[in-house]
């Protein structure tokens, strides 16, 4: 008799464990996306930026629930470290031989800024104008050459996705 009681107790114990979470709230488990296949997406791998000229970032940001914010970083790639997420043909294979001499002279350009996205958006067409100064704050010319353009987008839950492109910069003629 006692054993049967045990068995019953055991079933109740385990059953309650296994069925505890019926009332799960739906939580977001999907990462946001950066779509660079849209018409006129910019910049892409191999794109060129010019110091002293504005350019416009154009990409489509998407999330299944709600977008958070995004951040842009542009930094030099003179040491040829890489975060590239996009396949670029010749860039990858010449790597270390392809050392940019200009990188050694002048100041390296560095840009980092984060931007908010209006709340409640599932899709956001990024159309952000960025101004690149012609000269550094000391009045020196920026070093042209290989740079990285990185964009990271988050959703409200804290998931993030990022893309990194290898770009070229040049000084104004």
């Amino acid at each position: 008799m006692k054993k049967i009681i045990y068995t019953l107790l055991l079933s109740v114990f385990l059953f309650s464990f296994a069925s505890c979470n019926k009332d799960d709230e739906e939580v977001d488990t999907q990462k946001p996306e950066i779509d660079i296949t849209i018409d006129g997406a910019f910049p892409l791998n191999g794109s060129e930026l010019c110091f002293g000229e504005d350019f416009t970032i154009k990409m489509l940001l998407k999330d299944n629930q709600e977008l958070g914010s995004y951040s842009i970083e542009i930094h030099s790639n003179f040491d040829h470290h890489s975060h590239s997420t996009e396949e670029s043909d010749e860039h990858h294979h010449e790597e270390h031989e392809h050392h940019h001499e200009e990188g050694e002279e002048g100041d390296a350009f560095y840009f980092s800024q984060d931007f908010s996205i209006p709340s409640g958006q599932r899709e956001y067409l990024l159309n952000q104008k960025i101004s690149i100064p012609e000269k550094s704050s000391d009045g020196d010319e920026f070093a042209a050459g290989d740079y990285h353009f990185m964009i990271t987008v988050t959703d409200k839950a804290g998931f993030s996705s990022f893309k990194a492109m290898e770009i070229e910069t040049k000084n104004k003629d």
């Binding site: 006692k2 054993k3 049967i4 045990y6 068995t7 055991l10 079933s11 114990f13 385990l14 059953f15 464990f17 296994a18 069925s19 505890c20 979470n21 799960d24 709230e25 739906e26 939580v27 488990t29 990462k31 958070g68 914010s69 995004y70 951040s71 842009i72 970083e73 930094h75 030099s76 003179f78 040491d79 040829h80 470290h81 890489s82 975060h83 590239s84 997420t85 996009e86 396949e87 990858h92 790597e95 270390h96 390296a108 560095y110 980092s112 800024q113 984060d114 990271t152 988050t154 959703d155 409200k156 839950a157 804290g158 998931f159 993030s160 990022f162 990194a164």
Partner: protein, 722 residues
Amino acid sequence: MYRYALALCFCVNGLIVFAQDVEHETVIVKDDAMKTRLEVSKTIESVDGDFLTKVAGGSLSASLEKIPGLSSINIGSAQGKPVIRGLGFNRVAVVEDNVKHESQQWGSDHGLEIDQYAVEKAEILKGPSSLEYGSDALGGVVRISTQKMPRKNTFGANFKLFSKSVNSLFGSSVAFEGRKDKFFFLSRITYQDFADYKVPTDHVLVYSYRVPLKEGRLRNTAGREADFSISAGYIGKDKKLRLNVSQVNSYGGFFANAHGLEPRRVNENLHDKSSRDILDPKQKVNHLKTSLDFDKWNSFCAFSSTLAYQHNRREEFSPYVSHGYMPLNCPETFSGNPDTEYLYEKDVLSANFKMVFPFESFTLKTGSDIEFQNNEIGGRCFIIPEYQSVKAGAFLSSDYTLNESWRFQGGLRYDFGGIKTKEYRDWFASEGQYVLRAENLQRTFNDFTFSCGVIMRKGRFSTKLNLGKGFRMPIAKELASNGVNYHNFSYEVGSKDLKSEKSYQLDGEIDYVSRLFTVTLTPFAGWFSNYIFLNPTPGFDRFYGNGNQIYNYTQCRVLRFGGEAEIKFVLDNRYSVFGKSKIEIILSGEYLKARQLSGEKKGYSLPFSPPETCGLETVYTRNLKKTSENKRYSPKEFFVGLSFKKAFRQEEIVPPENPTSGYSVLNFNGGFSFLFLGRSVEFNVGINNVFNAVYYNHTSYYRLINVPEQGRNLTISLLFNI
């Protein structure tokens, strides 16, 4: 997913009902592990060195993964840290020979600095064990013993040679031991050298960037490890004195295409020249442990004490890369090696005392411990500041046996501790400012913890129930980190106001032991009133975080529940048909759920949650001993085994994790042992991942960058005793 758990529990219930028809008989528990299990009201599992030799994974933690309820966060092929029912890092205490192992366990790419070939016995306490082990033991304890006592007037040596195909590992471990009448010594040297390990794919996608792998080898994961230990002492009629010194040194590379989780362009030709070379990024770890044990006993009480000193040094190297406001090239004024990314150095002094008073049906135990730590940092990047900490505690516990059926255990503990972190400023200027990353901070914590339990044995049944409270003081990383963790692209911000973490857990266990089989069920439910959680926010920080995503340390309520089930059938000489053969069939399953009940991630699980798994293991053993003794050669035993593990899909994730698909893996084990000229020789062979399956382990460190687990791995080990 729940239907599997349900199916499992009904199946187990069915068996129990079936078992009731079997006639009653006295059950003698032979199994050592089972004996330990039946004497402690907490849920405990234990394995011996022999088991570890047979299943030897890449690290101690990986070898222990076979135990239900234990998983391992593996980094590469030779490093891993244990996770008990989904709790790891500083929530699990590892205690080696009475000394709490203190290293850099807060770091996600840290592995346990313990020589797995020196382990004689490993016990896993699942659930809060703060009572005896203080802060950090709230998730459980991995208790390791490397000590054994040689027999009187003997001298012996023991050689282990081992090799693995997946990382072309070669290693050996040699031990010498001896004892006169009262003086004894033990010593061991282990050395292993391994190449980049192989995964069953020709490329991996790191943040959608395709990384080709030469011969499937994960670039630059080679390494080597050299360990030694020596212990010597005196054992008398009523006292024992023992001095232990051990050193673990490892040197190994990290996957070069992703340092941490950061994709890096590397010179693949340089790396692919040799699979055995160790290039950047890499780490060098040294752990020194010295301890002095003194035990004294008489018929009234037993006293034991341990004094210990530990030194841990972990240095990570990678070529200088400028991040954010860091200068493009390292200035000559930079003090230290510019290629040292992080350096952590820790000195720990600790002491513990215990007294046990055994009465007829009642045992009283009391103890206290104190630990002092000094932590220094170096390197060009910053995550945690330098700090000092002190922890002290005292406990009283008792064990009361009422009669054959009932036994009660319980105790109370008080802890007190403090931490002092040191101010840190960047060595480079950001917009003209040397950023203050950490300030001088001083915090103290104290708490009461308890544990109480009951064991009830009735015939073949044994039932246990234990309620325990565990607590943990926040660590330097949680209180005072303020920097970018480039391994995860996260800007991690500590919170100086965190409260100590408290956990309450109810553990149950039901064992049924019969002639034919053993059933073990270990359900649990636990509640954290303020779990410390690193919460990824949608925001970025430019000035302090170089434009990286902000992760904040927060506290939330967490509910966890689950359990493990195991049914073991043993067919042996008790049934005449089997004669000298033994067949063991083990069915096992694990289930775990965790829910955050408050805070920003309400409704989510906890990071690194292991998926549901089930397993089927069969082992055939044949005793080859003959009655007529052949002096030159006589066989002892032969065994073959197959083990199958199925893990279900893990969708219980927390940002930034990815869901992980389910997988099945088949492993093979076999061995043969014999006596040759009176010496025992043992030969073991294993094939892990027989079908070279491509799968991902949710609790693996490289999971986030989509690196699959190791491919087919042939392991061979040879042991002989002299």
